[in-house]
Symmetry: C2
Subunit: 111 residues, 2 copies
Amino acid sequence: MPKFDANGLLTAVAIDHRTGALLMLAHMDAEAIAKTRETGFAHFHSRSRGRLWMKGESSGHVLKIIEIRVDCDQDALELRVEPAGPACHTLAPTCFYRRIDDEGLLQRVID
Amino acid sequence: MPKFDANGLLTAVAIDHRTGALLMLAHMDAEAIAKTRETGFAHFHSRSRGRLWMKGESSGHVLKIIEIRVDCDQDALELRVEPAGPACHTLAPTCFYRRIDDEGLLQRVID
């Protein structure tokens, strides 16, 4: 069993299984993991809304699970997925579309 | 500025900039971010030991920073790095070396 933190959560990282690109990072509780394994689509636990949500439930940009990996200390998951569209709610392909430059300013690197 | 959680931390994901492979996940506070930007090597905040640490400080398996990216809501960082050796303390190239199979058992997929 994975190791959850004091809030019953662990961190999950979604990776595009075809390109290897880092898509997004979110949190899962036991319910989100169970639902993800049961349905084959990534579900997370929203800390702000305090509820289960399926990625893409409103946008249609779901993440189909290809494989789930776990890290050495079993407190983080790698979801290897096939994205149905842009992973970010901004419609960028990944949530990590900006780099921090030497002055600490954000520069867009992915359109 | 990035957004820290109630404990003053955010999640950082290290990605091999050459292969795109997900290497490890750890936490950073403002001090770890400052030290990482200042030295060019990944530093994290250990939640269990309650202190700053440099990845590879004892093993020599440091992570040289190539680029730092930030996600859409600025509460997670992608460290694009050049690893000096295996990223995992188990000496696996990545901490995510096992998959969860249909029965929920862990199967090694990366040697």
